[in-house]
Symmetry: C2
Subunit: 210 residues, 2 copies
């Protein structure tokens, strides 16, 4: 039992070190040697846990999911589903240094996913989970009268996920001036345009404005 816990602990340590390397230097800097060095271990110690760079990337994605998932869960619990959706999307925006690091990693993960079947398989699972999460909040919004009943929920969920991914690209590249507040405003405008303004059909008197 203790040994298993140590094993997990060490894996997390390496994943955190790999995230730091990717965030700083990108895929270019991601070598087994650099990751081991960043974590303060020998390359041999690292290869005991991970056979390849792709395995390291997958561990980083698990590490990232463990951080982001509870944040998304927490955000998605709002009483108003529309507010929950907005909060969920605000939570994952590249508006903080930590989330920017996650997104830099995510872009690297896309790049490898376009070439490595192993990485692609993991990424599909992540997207499946993420899109389902968004879709289920939209369905809750429909039930609450905060989104049109005739919406194609899967299409809208895919659109929203695509728009957030593309927004993150624009933020990381500085393709537009996007402060955290501007990103959140961008998301709010997009949601109102796509799901209709919430005030237009208030389902409950208890739903306070703003």
């Amino acid at each position: 039992m203790a040994r298993q816990a140590d094993h997990e602990q060490r894996r997390r340590q390496f994943a955190a070190a790999a995230l730091a390397v990717i965030s700083r230097d990108g895929l270019e800097g991601l070598t087994m040697r650099n990751v081991a060095k960043e974590a303060g271990f020998t390359t041999g110690a690292l290869t005991h846990y991970f056979q390849s760079k792709d395995e390291v990337l997958i561990a980083v994605s698990e590490h990232g999911a463990e951080i982001v998932r509870p944040m998304m869960d927490e955000a998605a619990t709002g009483v108003s589903a529309r507010e929950a959706l907005r909060d969920l999307l605000h939570t994952i925006l590249p508006a903080s240094a930590a989330m920017k690091a996650q997104w830099r990693f995510w872009v690297a993960f896309w790049e490898r996913g376009a070439h490595s079947p192993q990485v692609q398989r993991v990424m599909r699972e992540r997207y499946f989970e993420y899109m389902n999460r968004v879709a289920s909040v939209i369905r809750r919004a429909q039930e609450q009268g905060e989104a049109p009943r005739d919406l194609d929920v899967d299409q809208v969920a895919r659109e929203i996920v695509a728009t957030i991914d593309g927004l993150a690209v624009q933020v990381l590249l500085g393709a537009a001036k996007f402060t955290g507040a501007a990103q959140r405003q961008f998301v709010d405008t997009m949601l109102d345009a796509r799901l209709g303004a919430v005030a237009a059909s208030p389902p409950k008197a208890s739903r306070a404005a703003g």
Copy 2:
């Protein structure tokens, strides 16, 4: 003159070789040695033209822009601005092997752009050009009564660009089953939702349905 033409010719040859390497192996395979080999030259010959991998990437992006720009120009000339916008977006979708190769490169370019100021600068110019192109077609649609007058055109152009980028990610990763027809349908639905269905307020009798 002849020498200058040869120089340009050789640069294009290397850019095409680099695109082939990236499309096949991703950034992982992008070494000066691999690109030179793919083009049938020595590494020394390549370094005579490009000092670094980032310079090779920038040349590939220029090469890609030269291919895609005339396609976008052609698509954007439609009489109906809404149809022109749709055609422009359809043109750049990763629906063909050639465009998928361009998008695989584009994702690699994002990854490097998040870390290399030199790549990021070029990428900002590309996005600026692309967003302006989309925004100007939307403005034309407004003038033609094919898009709401009160639209925040810059926001919508950024949203559309973001959504197409994110859609390409989903296609490359197989995160959703996206045939070419499904991609075009996705774009059409997104445009109708964001700009209003064209049939809802026909500006001219000459605008045939479908």
